[in-house]
């Protein structure tokens, strides 16, 4: 199956996205969007309990792009699931937009409604066509059929899936499915995009294209993004801050600011300073092994 060409520069559709996207409070890039306060998570099983995360405190600012990196099993995914309200922390508090994510043992629907999540697998519903999958969040919110399908078509164009609106997920390639999943998460214009290794299953070339696309999407939609990834290069290329986790128990090992100007092009990776940051992070990872 042929890949649709991905746009690497903002297009009219993306600018439209920008105009009616989530509005940030004027001049408050410093406002806290997501906060983890002394968060710990233990998992209990027959073979004993495992401390997946220990005393994590992290503040993610509005419109910031944060990457979480670390070895397998260091708790990256658990941390993202806690931010998403899918996993309840054993201890500590999670705040989104200054409001607690959990209240009275339940998830606060209004707060959760501002989060968009992209999973490691696309998790599209095989019984829905691409457009129905993308429009599903709007359907659940009671948006009318004509309106939600119009939005789905707009998003198909945005992520390069035009012409596949009526296809079933099983007719798409892995990369196309993942793009449909991203479109689904964007459909309701969430203020925060949480992504768990969304490009893990893609080949290197598609992955680079997706990285550029994600950068322009994040800028245009003024979203806050938290990206979990295995790839240090990907993290440094995309993020404003790279959070490195060390395993067993999962703790924050370091937080690295990356201040290359945006939009970043692929050749930023050739800069000595980029390579220096990657080397430093890699050394930190290796020290744990």
């Amino acid at each position: 199956m042929t890949q649709q060409g991905l746009k690497t520069t903002p297009t009219p559709e993306i600018e439209a996205e920008c105009a009616d996207g989530q509005a940030a409070p004027s001049g408050s890039a410093a406002g806290a969007e997501l906060e983890l306060v002394d968060v710990s998570k233990e998992f209990h099983s027959r073979s004993g309990s495992v401390v997946a995360l220990k005393d994590i405190t992290l503040t993610i600012r509005r419109r910031e792009f944060v990457a979480l990196v670390g070895r397998s099993g260091c708790g990256k995914t658990t941390m993202l699931r806690i931010l998403a309200g899918l996993t309840h922390p054993t201890r500590g508090h999670v705040l989104a937009g200054g409001r607690p994510l959990w209240r009275d043992g339940g998830r606060d629907p209004e707060t959760v409604g501002r989060l968009g999540i992209v999973f490691q697998d696309a998790h599209l519903f095989p019984w829905y066509s691409v457009e129905e999958n993308i429009a599903l969040p709007l359907k659940l919110r009671g948006v009318g059929k004509a309106e939600r399908l119009a939005r789905a078509h707009e998003l198909c164009a945005l992520v390069g899936l035009s012409g596949f609106e009526r296809s079933y997920p099983r007719e798409l390639s892995g990369g196309m499915r993942q793009r449909a999943a991203i479109a689904r998460a964007l459909s309701y214009r969430p203020g925060v995009l949480l992504m768990d290794e969304p490009f893990g299953a893609l080949d290197a070339l598609t992955r680079e294209k997706m990285n550029l696309e994600l950068q322009s999407l994040a800028t245009a939609s003024e979203s806050t993004v938290v990206l979990v990834t295995h790839s240090i290069r990907e993290a440094v290329f995309l993020a404003d801050r790279v959070v490195l986790l060390s395993p067993r128990p999962g703790r924050i090992r370091s937080v690295t600011e990356v201040d290359f100007p945006r939009p970043r092009q692929l050749d930023v990776e050739a800069e000595p300073r980029f390579q220096e940051i990657v080397r430093t992070l890699r050394r930190q990872l290796d020290e744990e092994a």
């Binding site: 998403a84 629907p109 959760v112 999973f119 519903f125 099983r170």
Partner: protein
């Protein structure tokens, strides 16, 4: 030059007549080698008996109709009860644990051994046969639905949770669709079992239905007609299975068990 895919599509249309021709040829050969006419009547005689049978109105209005009604009614009852019981046992874990030994025991009983009981309880009419057909169809459907209800992908559940979906929204957008392929898998087995139930019921009691005709022609040592009734039964079973299969293609065109060629 047709492509491999095109050839694959037409293959059954060529292979099936060829296989039928081979079977008929072997049949004729066996007859010519001197197999008894009571064991194996020649194809021509069976064909004649089949035409004769099909020209008798009572075969359609009484026997075929009786067996069809019994199988379809039994299948319907088995389907509805199988879906309900399977869904409840799939959702209520403690209940499933409590009744599992009994369910397994009921399942391993050769249910056709119960047919005489049902004849005693419900008489020689249609009722006993409908009940047998329903019981035979019930188990595969119930077990498949139970499995289906429990096989909802946890990743899909996460998607619904992250979208703040309510109980009913999760049912309609996720659990219902996700269980349907299992329901149809159970139905494809269930419809075949329902026909078996109806026929075995007719073997043992009553004087209507294709099963009764089988016994009747056997008692008369009318081998060609016996073979002809079996052909009618095969056609009936095939048509019923085909109907379920068409329903499946219409209801779950997205599923792997339905070829993409059929929907595009």
């Amino acid at each position: 030059m047709p492509s491999r895919e095109q050839l694959m599509k037409f293959l059954p249309w060529i292979s099936t007549p060829v296989l039928i021709a081979v079977i008929l040829a072997m049949w004729k050969l066996a007859v010519s080698l001197g197999v008894s006419r009571y064991t194996l009547p020649p194809p021509g005689e069976v064909w004649a008996a089949l035409l004769d049978l099909m020209s008798r109105p009572d075969v359609w209005t009484v026997h075929m109709r009786t067996t069809l009604v019994e199988a379809v009614a039994g299948f319907g009852i088995g389907l509805v009860s199988g879906v309900i019981v399977g869904a409840v046992l799939g959702r209520v874990v403690w209940l499933e644990r409590a009744v599992r030994p009994m369910v397994v025991a009921l399942q391993v009983i050769p249910k056709v051994a119960l047919v005489p009981l049902f004849v005693i309880w419900f008489g020689f009419g249609m009722t006993s046969k409908v009940i047998i057909a329903a019981i035979l169809a019930f188990f595969p459907i119930m077990l498949n639905v139970l499995l289906g209800v429990r096989s909802v992908d946890p990743g899909h559940r996460d998607v619904m949770t992250s979208l703040n979906a309510g109980r009913w929204q999760t049912f309609w957008a996720l659990e219902f669709h996700s269980t349907l392929p299992y329901v149809f898998a159970g139905m494809e087995v269930g419809i075949v079992f329902a026909v078996i139930g109806a026929i075995v019921g007719e073997y043992l009691g009553g004087n209507e239905g294709l099963g009764y005709l089988v016994v009747d022609t056997l008692n008369a040592l009318n081998a060609p007609e016996l073979y002809a009734v079996i052909v009618l039964l095969a056609v009936l079973g095939y048509l019923l299975f085909f109907a379920v299969n068409v329903a499946k293609r219409l209801m779950i065109p997205w599923h792997e068990s339905v070829s993409l060629k059929d929907i595009t």
